[in-house]
């Protein structure tokens, strides 16, 4: 059975994605920082699905290690889901460039580094799929999280270009834009229930959309329309708003 590689495997969305793909017969590579912390989740996946699971050490910010990481995979994956995300604290990032850089590098630079390598391999093989998890925050910069948003926006443009380039090689690239998701990242925020997805709903949406070769999805789907409205507000009006 084919492997799915999940980059940023410790996030709640990543775990839900791992369960969803394992349930559907995939073997799983879980890549992230702190393999030891993933041990019990590896067991969970194995017991649940009977699939093969390996936890692999990977730091998206350690660009130099990415080649060796990918070369080291015994069996190359059929697909990859990049679920790396670092929200950071906007107010800190405005005054502390290190924080700003960490947000940009985690959400964008590091992802580009690892995906470049994988994309080249998939292109050569003329098969595979790439799923990148962006954010609705990337659709329009807002004062509350525009540094995070700009990194996710850049990721969106990168994935769009990759999709364009790899189309001819039968490699599918999908951009996922989750709205609110009830995860550790949003713990403590007062999120509206009807607009907030559970991680397993997001994972189900991703699996279904990826299998049917979608290009860009919002999850929950309602966010497509919310973002359509938000991006349609004229800039002279938008700049005065707090949303």
């Amino acid at each position: 059975m084919s492997y799915l590689l999940i980059v940023g495997a410790k996030s709640d969305i990543a775990k839900a994605v791992a369960r969803e793909y394992a349930r559907n017969g995939y073997n799983i590579y879980l890549a992230g920082r702190g393999v030891d912390e993933m041990a019990s989740f590896v067991t969970d996946l194995k017991v649940r699905s009977g699939c093969k699971v390996q936890a692999l050490e990977l730091d998206v910010l350690d660009y130099a290690s990415h080649h060796a990481f990918y070369e080291g995979l015994e069996e190359k994956p059929l697909g990859v889901v990049v679920a790396v995300g670092y929200l950071g604290v906007q107010s800190n990032a405005q005054s502390d460039f290190e924080e700003a850089q960490k947000i940009m590098d985690t959400n964008y630079t590091g992802v580009v580094s690892i995906l470049n390598i994988i994309a080249n391999d998939f292109e050569k093989r003329k098969s595979g799929f790439i799923v990148g998890i962006g954010s609705v925050a990337g659709d329009r910069g807002r004062k509350s999280n525009y540094i995070y948003g700009s990194a996710k926006s850049a990721l969106g443009a990168y994935l769009s270009g990759l999709r364009n380039r790899l189309h001819i090689s039968q490699v599918d690239v999908m951009t996922v834009k989750p709205g609110f998701v009830a995860t550790a990242m949003t713990e403590g925020m007062d999120l509206p229930e009807k607009l907030t997805a559970q991680p397993d709903e997001v994972a189900e949406d991703i699996y279904k959309a990826q299998q049917s070769k979608k290009n860009i999805i919002y999850t929950k789907g309602l966010w497509r329309w919310i973002m359509l409205i938000i991006t349609s507000i004229p800039e002279w009006q938008f700049k005065k708003m707090s949303i």
């Binding site: 349930r23 989740f41 067991t43 969970d44 017991v47 649940r48 713990e187």
Partner: protein, 432 residues
């Protein structure tokens, strides 16, 4: 954010406490009181409501499976539905399952749930090898029939009042099909219903849906459904997206006429006295799970389920009196379920005793609690008991008479300082 129970009544403010690991939970347990563990919120009444609610559901890792013994180890937040998704395709099923798969393992133990095979397999605790629980002093201990046996008796069916269940080992049973051979028997009155239960008592699964608005000679007429797993090797069980009720129905949607129409439809669709069907696991065991949030059909005022059980030898008279009282009241139940149970177990607060149980839903409305009080009196008279997992209104007197082991339970809680630590609205109400 406050959590509700399945009946959406009562609605009360509560603090939801989350924990990332045992250390954090230990702190919570040591520092707070008025605590109760909360799983998937499927108990109907106020048994999982308290000032401080500990959310266990996020702790849902599978920890191991011993293929030889069929022994599965999971964290307490794992849902039965997750076990089915993983294990039915591999030829395993729950030894005991209630009528919903959307409950956690922790909840299943705390309520010592039972199902259509109670007369053969007993309660959920029968399939529990052991569990891990955090006690009132924040210490985590194991409990089984051999290790800390009194804790086992108190915790299985103990409504979360002994601590926070963290992990459990449960036995699964082998199956060789996702299909059940179902036989449906249509009866004309309560006597026929009882006779049919006896006649089919050799069948491993049985339950009856009863038309509780029937009057006079027709009181107790039912559709009895019995069955067992087929042996055709088809285990292709998958998750299905079902319907869901997206909002609370206006409360007038469920009046006497709609209930009557539903019952008529149900009873009318079966022609012959005895008929056979081939049905899937979800249809047979979990018919209501196909409609997500079906609790919303009763409107935002909420509802309750009244479930009582009477000793077998006097069940007939007792159920007849209860059904007559309900029928006279004109308050109808969407669901009325009757079942013959097997022997009771030794757990202090487990619900089942050998006899017939009746379960009905009621919309919360004016006059309901007076009716329930009347029903309680009948239960008291016939020496029966009320199921705490469903209950929202039972009096202390009716509760105490129904559960003679309550004194042992109280003493055990006191001895281990659990009584000042773990409390639900229900435990306070009935003085557990």
């Amino acid at each position: 954010m406050s959590l509700n129970s399945w009946g959406m009544y009562p609605q009360v403010e509560n603090n939801v406490l989350r924990f990332s690991d045992e250390k954090v939970l230990e702190n919570i347990v040591k520092k707070s009181d008025n605590l109760i563990a909360y799983g998937n919120g499927r108990s109907y009444g106020d048994s999982a409501l308290a000032k401080n609610i500990i959310e266990v559901k996020p702790h849902n890792y599978f920890l191991g499976f011993d293929e030889q013994k069929g022994l599965l180890t999971v964290q307490a937040g794992v849902l039965l539905s997750e076990i089915l998704e993983s294990f039915v395709p591999r030829g395993w099923f729950l030894k005991v399952t209630p009528g919903t798969k959307l409950i956690t393992i922790g909840g299943a133990i705390a309520s010592d749930v039972h199902g259509k095979n109670h007369h053969v397999e007993g309660c959920f605790s029968e399939c529990v090898e052991s569990f891990k629980i955090m006690l009132a002093d924040g210490v985590v201990v194991n409990s089984s029939r051999e290790e800390n046996p009194e804790l086992f008796l108190a915790t299985c069916g103990g409504m979360g009042l002994t601590g926070v269940i963290l992990e459990a080992q449960i036995y699964l049973k082998k199956i060789n099909s996702k299909y059940i051979d179902q036989i449906t028997i249509k009866t004309k009155n309560l006597r026929e219903t009882f006779d049919a239960f006896e006649e089919y008592s050799g069948s491993p699964y049985s339950v009856a849906w009863i038309d509780c608005l029937a009057k006079g000679d027709e009181i107790g007429k039912c559709l009895l459904m019995v069955g067992d797993f087929k042996d055709d090797g088809d285990l292709s069980y998958t998750r299905k997206g079902g319907l869901s009720i997206p909002f609370n129905f206006p409360s007038f949607a469920l009046n006497n006429y709609t209930v009557r129409a539903f019952n008529w439809l149900y009873y009318g669709k079966v022609g012959k006295r005895v008929s056979r069907q081939k049905v899937e696991i979800d249809t047979f065991f979990y018919p209501l799970d196909a409609i997500g949030n079906w609790n919303r059909i009763y409107g935002k005022g909420g509802f309750t389920q009244y479930q009582c059980i009477l000793p077998k030898e006097i069940s007939y008279d007792g159920l007849k009196e209860i059904l007559r009282t309900i029928s006279d009241s004109g308050k109808g139940s969407f669901l009325a379920v009757v079942k013959l149970y097997g022997k009771e177990n030794a757990n202090y607060l487990s619900f089942p005793i050998e006899g017939y149980s009746l379960a009905l839903d009621f919309k919360i409305e004016k006059g309901l609690f007076e009716l329930l009080e009347e029903l309680d009196k009948i239960v008291l008279k016939y020496k029966g008991r009320i199921y705490l997992t469903k209950d929202v209104s039972v009096s202390r007197e009716t509760f105490e008479q129904g559960y003679p082991d309550i004194e042992k339970f109280r003493a055990y809680r006191k001895e281990n300082n659990m009584n000042n630590k773990f409390e639900s609205l229900q435990s306070k109400r009935v003085g557990i």
